[in-house]
Structures are given as structure tokens and as C-alpha cells.
């Protein structure tokens, strides 16, 4: 039942979720299949990424000269706001959980679907609705507040801030519904045999993400609503002119938005844990440490928001507590980094594209994380707060790492989702472009920040010019890299070689089913006797079928 790629050609699953029950657009738009919803999310977030990336390029081109280059200050302020809003709310928060999470989590727990399929579809439409409202606001003037919407500027600006706020509010509900679905699915729909300690690490991290989505998002929703009310009616909650406290807004905002950073990075860690095992063909080093540290990050992440307010005049006691607690997030991340590297030890490493992205991820996570630790020492933050150093730091950790993981996931699970392989050679070229492009975009920004260039500056003193040009050059390389990826995956969609159920020889549960998977994920539910990261009982030679239970679904025993 499980032919090895060496002995017989791989099989494309003829009856799969892409063509059952139907193939028409209508069947997609009304689907409740988590895989289709996941794919639709992936398409939507990719479009959002392209839009956000376009804004990013506008910003970089504008900074080619110290003064005005291609736009005026007002346009620039709108562009960086839209770049932030689109990238954070429309791309990074939903990208891995709603896209890959939706596709994979139910398969990884051996379920036929998520617990509430209709809510899942609703989540997708809420995403579209939120994006639509925000888009409407962008077309009709856009907001010029920055994605942080700091009051009282955001409540007094004449730009169209209300639709953007409402858009983000609606997107919050989309996020909540997805998180709710994942938690309930993980608790109640695990197949017999999948105990908590046999859950794939991907599920653990997505679970931790979902907890944050559920507990933090409502506070952001309320806060954005208050800002919108304030902007429209002037009720004064955050307006000092009416007795309100603008710093209270910052507390509320970061109570969500700091944990939101972990909504972005935990799913990335989820992907990396899977990739490093699959391509090292090795059990994870310290399953429990990696799994529980995700929960640790989610928990501690709720108590560190104050480190965004070191310069806002909070008391030194608050600053001390928030700074020290921030260090613990670093510890949990450090545990993961050490364990991933140790997983490679005595492995059998297949240096394929997803693994290259794992290395890139490690690089960005390490330096992004360590600059974060440096910021948490408080005194250094005073210098770096609101400069390009912070910009580079969070682009490294949130964008660099998350982007690497997103691309690793895309390449690792591409054969699972489409049943076809991409071009390894082109993927290699693109990976080099993207990783180098990213380094060259943001390394100069660390130096700009050291030198004191504040963020959100339309024009800047001459002495920052050279580094800005270097950064823009890096961004261009990055853009070329992404274009290459888009090109070869679209080609692969149609002309890619047939992948077969398990081209990587992975032990992950999702590889126990044909590619693309059938409508209800498994034709025959496997017994899940082996753990998802268990490789020590591999057969000695490739042609010999694994001593797995007979009748186990295809692909379990590739040598």
C-alpha cells in the first residue's frame, strides 16, 4: 500500500478535497471543509501580503533621499500606517494559524473537521468583511495614525481612521472564532491513540496561540471601539482635553498587541518544530520542553505589555516588573532554540528548501530575540524606543522569523496541499534572495536606530542617507525573491511532479493520508501508534516496507 518513491512512481490522490464534493466556485465559497477554508485563507493572506509589501516598497523608495522623493509627508504617513495595519491584522496574525492551522490542525489530531465548521467559514467571511471595511477606509483617504492608533492623535486626526478601526475590530472576531475552534477541536476531537503527549508540536503551539487570541483580542476590540467612539463623538475616554488619559489607551492597546506578537511568532515556532524533525529525520530533543515552553510564552506574554511604555512616564517599579518578566519570554524562546539545534544532532539531515528556511528562521529569531532582551534591560530601551532599532528588532522577530516559517510551511506542506512538488532549484535561488534581502534590509536599520533615527520619519537628516539606501537596496532583493516564489509555486500548481502521500518521509500524522487529502482527511483512520516525531524505528533499507500495522494509510513507511 505504501510504495517507496524509489521503486514505483508516487500517486496523486484522484479523489481529494479539491474536487469533492464539487469543484465550482460556489462549492468553495459555501464549503465547511477546514482544508478549503485554510486554502482560501492562504490565498487571501497572500494577497494582503502583496498589498502590504507594496506599501513597504513605497516607504523604502521614499527613503532613497533625505527629503521628499516620490510622495509628500501626508501620503507617507498614510502609507506607513497602511503598511502596518495590512501586514499585522491582515497578514501576520491570520497567516499561519488561519491558513496552515486550519488546513493541518484537524488532520494532525485525527479529526474529520474542526469542531464548529460553520463558525470556521464565518471566521473567513469576517476576515473578508474586516479587510473590506479597512480597504474602503484606505481608498477613501486612509488613516495617518500609525498602526498603533495612539491617542489623542488618532482621535483628533482628520483622516479616515474610523473605518480602519472598525475593520480591525471585525478582524478581531475572525481571530477569536478561529482560536475558539482550535481549542475545542484539540480538546474534543483528538482521534483515539492521540494522547496529549502524542500531539504534534505544531498543535501545541497553535493551541497556545489560540489561548492568546481568545483572551487578548476582546480587549483590543473594546479599545478600538472606544477610539472610534472618541473620534466620532468625543466622549473623552482617552482625550486629555476632556479629562481622559492617553496612556490608558497605550496600556489597553499593548495588553492585546504585545501578546499579539506571540500570536505571530508561536505559529512560526509551531512550523519550525515540525520542519526540523522531518528534515533531520529525528525525534525532537525534549518534546515536553518544546511543548510547554509554548504555553509558557503564551502565559508570560500577558504580563509584559508595559515594556512598550518605558518612556511614557510609568513608575520605575512598573518598569522593573515588566522588564524582568520580559526576560522570561526570552528564556522560553532560548529553550526552544537550543532544543531545535540539538534535534539535528545524530540526525539524517536532508538539506531541502524548508530546512534552509529553518536556518534563516533560527538566525532571525536569535538576533531578533536577543535585541529584544537588550531592549528589556530598560536603560537601553530609553535610547532605542521609537527608533529604527525597534523597527529592525520587530521586523527581525515578527516578520523575519514568521516569514521564514511561513515559507518553510509553504514548501513543506505544498505537496500535501496540492499533491505536487515545486521546483527545488528555483526554491533554493529564491531562498537565498529572500534571506539575504531580509538581512540587508534590516541590518542597516539596526545601525540607523543606534545612531538615533526615529521611526515614522518622512524626511531625515543627511547623515542617515547611506544606510537608508542600503536598506532600500536590500528590500529590492527581498521583493525579487518573493516574486520568484510566486512564479514557481504557480507553475508547480499545474506542472509540478506528482508528490505522492509522503515525499519527505515525514512521520507527521498529516503524511499518513494521501496528497491531497480526501474530504474527511483519512480514508481509514490510522491507529497513531507512533509519535509524530518518532524516527528511531525506521527500517534499515528503503525498499523494505515499515513494520507498521497492515492497512495503515499510505505513506507511513517511506524509507
Amino acid at each position: 500500500m505504501s510504495p517507496s518513491p524509489a521503486s514505483s512512481p508516487p500517486v496523486y490522490a484522484v479523489r481529494n478535497y479539491l474536487n469533492t464534493p464539487a469543484t465550482g466556485l460556489r462549492s468553495w465559497l459555501t464549503t465547511r471543509d477546514h482544508k478549503r477554508i485554510g486554502v482560501m485563507f492562504l490565498v487571501a493572506v497572500t494577497v494582503a501580503f502583496a498589498v502590504g509589501g507594496f506599501f513597504a516598497m513605497l516607504i523604502r523608495v521614499e527613503h532613497l533621499t533625505p527629503g521628499p522623493t516620490i510622495m509628500d509627508a501626508m501620503t507617507y504617513n498614510r502609507v506607513f500606517t497602511l503598511h502596518g495595519v495590512v501586514m499585522i491584522f491582515l497578514f501576520m496574525i491570520p497567516a499561519i494559524p488561519s491558513g496552515f492551522g486550519n488546513f493541518l490542525l484537524p488532520i494532525m489530531v485525527g479529526a474529520k473537521d474542526v469542531a464548529f465548521p460553520r463558525l470556521n467559514l464565518l471566521s473567513f467571511y469576517l476576515y473578508l468583511l474586516g479587510a473590506g471595511i479597512a480597504l474602503w477606509g484606505m481608498i477613501h483617504g486612509g488613516a495617518d495614525t500609525g498602526w498603533t492608533f495612539y491617542t489623542p492623535y488618532s482621535t483628533t486626526t482628520s483622516s479616515k481612521v474610523v473605518p480602519i478601526l472598525l475593520g480591525a475590530f471585525v478582524l478581531g472576531f475572525s481571530s477569536i472564532l478561529t482560536g475558539l475552534n482550535f481549542i475545542v477541536t484539540t480538546h474534543t476531537l483528538r482521534a483515539p491513540g492521540i494522547t496529549w503527549t502524542k500531539l504534534p508540536l505544531f498543535v501545541w503551539s497553535i493551541y497556545a496561540t489560540s489561548v492568546i487570541q481568545i483572551l487578548a483580542t476582546p480587549v483590543l476590540g473594546m479599545t478600538l471601539l472606544l477610539v472610534a467612539i472618541e473620534h466620532a463623538f468625543g466622549w473623552g475616554i482617552f482625550d486629555p482635553a476632556r479629562g481622559g488619559d492617553p496612556v490608558l489607551f497605550q496600556h489597553f492597546f499593548w495588553f492585546y498587541s504585545h501578546p499579539a506578537v506571540y500570536i505571530m511568532i508561536l505559529p512560526a515556532m509551531a512550523v519550525i518544530s515540525e520542519v526540523v524533525c522531518a528534515f533531520s529525520r529525528k525525534n525532537i530533543f525534549g518534546y515536553k520542553a518544546v511543548a510547554y515552553s509554548s504555553l509558557g510564552i503564551a502565559f508570560v506574554g500577558f504580563f509584559t505589555w508595559g515594556h512598550h511604555l518605558f518612556t511614557s512616564g510609568q513608575s520605575p517599579y512598573d518598569a522593573g516588573i515588566f522588564g524582568a518578566l520580559s526576560m522570561f519570554v526570552g528564556i522560553f524562546t532560548a529553550i526552544k532554540v537550543f532544543n531545535w539545534v540539538a534535534t539535528m544532532y545524530k540526525g539524517s539531515i536532508d538539506f531541502k528548501t524548508p530546512f534552509i528556511y529553518f536556518l534563516g528562521f533560527l538566525f532571525f529569531l536569535f538576533f531578533g530575540g536577543m535585541t529584544g532582551i537588550a531592549l528589556a534591560t530598560v536603560s537601553l530601551d530609553i535610547h532605542w524606543q521609537d527608533t529604527y532599532f525597534v523597527v529592525a528588532h520587530f521586523h527581525f522577530i515578527m516578520v523575519g522569523s514568521t516569514m521564514m516559517a511561513f515559507l518553510a510551511a509553504l514548501h513543506y506542506w505544498w505537496p500535501k496541499m496540492t499533491g505536487r512538488m515545486y521546483s527545488e532549484r528555483w526554491a533554493l535561488v529564491a531562498a537565498v534572495f529572500i534571506i539575504l534581502g531580509f538581512v540587508f534590509t534590516f541590518l542597516p536599520q539596526f545601525l540607523l536606530g543606534n545612531e538615533g533615527m526615529p521611526r515614522r520619519y518622512f524626511s531625515y537628516p543627511e547623515r542617515y542617507w547611506a544606510l537608508n539606501v542600503a536598506s532600500t537596496a536590500g528590500a529590492s532583493v527581498l521583493a525579487i525573491g518573493f516574486t520568484i516564489v510566486l512564479g514557481y509555486i504557480l507553475v508547480a500548481l499545474r506542472y509540478g511532479a506528482v508528490a505522492g502521500p509522503n515525499p519527505w518521509g515525514s512521520r507527521g500524522y498529516e503524511w499518513l493520508t494521501p496528497s491531497p487529502p480526501p474530504l474527511e482527511n483519512f480514508d481509514v483512520l490510522p491507529a497513531f501508534e507512533r509519535g509524530p516525531h518518532q524516527y528511531h524505528d525506521l527500517p534499515a533499507a528503503p525498499p523494505t516496507p515499515a513494520p507498521g500495522p497492515a492497512g495503515e494509510a499510505a505513506g507511513a513507511s517511506h524509507g
Binding site: 465547511r32 464548529f116 465548521p117 473594546m222 466622549w235
Partner: protein
């Protein structure tokens, strides 16, 4: 919340969705989903409560003064009304467990009636505030000098308004489930939606139990 879609033809129960193995498991999932949803609701209010706490600390005098101006007896009666409605909802669930779904429907409609009493009293209070000019933000014409008064009423209307919105939503849920119960959609074996509607109503009640001392009592 209740996702009892696709009636599997010939399946064990019409309410069992295709991806659950048993009705019991599906019920567990729905209950867990509801509890998580309630958690998000609580955090929604938490933001407002936190804001209230901060401003009460910053404007202690004005907030005490404004709070004294509220009709505590009306708030008290409303608390009593809501707690009673929670009791009737709980009795309704108990009836559903015994399979007496008509009784469930009756008790749910009684709860809706109590919800209406609550909303009416709330409307009388709001009218009173309007007449006195006790309005949020720039519309505030009350007697408390400084920003404290207008801030209090901004928060007062936000919190009680959002709560009233939840009461309306809860009444709608009770209504829908009540009608379905009357038509015999539930039984002693399957009554998860009744339970979930009850949970939601209890949350609405619980939030008021926090709102009342916070805003009305000194």
C-alpha cells in the same frame, strides 16, 4: 454556538454533525466552545471595568458624587429581577433535563418577561439622565464641575449600554430556544442548546452583578 447542522441521514440523531462520533462528544465540544466564548465576553467588559477603575481613582470625588446621583433602588430592583430570571432559566434547564420541554419554554418566556422589566427600568433611568443633561462627553450638562462628571457618564453609558445590548441578545437567544423547545426540538437526551442559552443568560446576569456595585454602590 450550537453547531448541530447536517442531519446525517439514517444517523443516530438528527442533531449529530458528521465529524463527531457521538452526541455526548458533540455536547462536550459545544459546552467548551460556549465557555470560551463567555471568557471573551468577560474580557470585553474587563476593558471597560479597568477604565472605570482608573478614572474612579483619578476622579474619586466626582465619581462618588455622580454615583450618589444614580437611583440605587432601581439598580437594586434590577439586580433582583435579573437574579430571579437566572433562577427561572435554571429551572427551565432542569425541566429540559427531565424532558418536560414545554415547561422549559414557559420558564424561558418568563425569563424574557423579567428581561423586559429590566430593560424598562433601565429605559426609565436613561430618560431621567437625559432630562438632567447627564450625558456622555461634550453633551454633559450635569452639575459636577470638571471632567469627572462627563467621564463618569461616558463610562456609565458605555458599560450599561453594552450590558443592555447583551440583555437584548440574551432575550433573543432565550426566545429562539424557547420556541424550539415548545415545538419539541429537545428532549431529555438532547438539550445542549438549552444549556448553552442558559449559560449565556447567566453570564449576562453575572456581569450585571459586577456592574451594580461598581457603578451604583459606594
Amino acid at each position: 454556538m450550537a453547531d448541530h447542522a447536517a442531519a446525517a441521514p439514517g444517523g443516530p440523531h438528527a442533531a449529530l454533525a458528521h465529524h463527531f462520533e457521538s452526541l455526548e462528544k458533540q455536547g462536550q465540544a459545544q459546552r467548551l466552545g460556549m465557555w470560551l466564548f463567555l471568557a471573551t465576553e468577560i474580557l470585553l467588559f474587563t476593558a471597560l471595568f479597568a477604565a472605570y477603575g482608573v478614572y474612579r481613582y483619578l476622579y474619586t470625588g466626582a465619581f462618588a458624587e455622580a454615583s450618589r446621583g444614580l437611583a440605587t433602588w432601581m439598580g437594586g430592583v434590577n439586580t433582583f429581577v435579573l437574579v430571579t430570571s437566572s433562577l427561572t432559566v435554571a429551572l427551565g434547564l432542569d425541566a429540559a433535563r427531565q424532558g418536560r420541554t414545554r415547561r422549559t419554554a414557559g420558564l424561558f418566556f418568563l425569563s424574557i418577561g423579567l428581561g423586559l422589566v429590566f430593560m424598562t427600568l433601565k429605559a426609565v433611568e436613561y430618560r431621567h439622565h437625559f432630562l438632567l443633561g447627564e450625558l456622555p462627553g461634550p453633551s454633559y450638562r450635569g452639575h459636577i464641575p470638571g471632567s469627572g462628571g462627563s467621564l463618569f457618564f461616558s463610562l456609565y453609558f458605555l458599560i450599561t449600554g453594552l450590558h443592555a445590548f447583551h440583555v437584548l441578545a440574551g432575550m433573543t437567544v432565550l426566545g429562539v430556544i424557547g420556541v424550539k423547545a415548545w415545538r419539541g426540538a429537545y428532549s431529555a437526551e438532547y438539550h445542549v442548546p438549552v444549556e448553552l442559552a442558559g449559560l449565556y443568560w447567566h453570564l449576562v446576569d453575572l456581569i450585571w452583578i459586577f456592574v451594580f456595585p461598581l457603578i451604583y454602590l459606594q
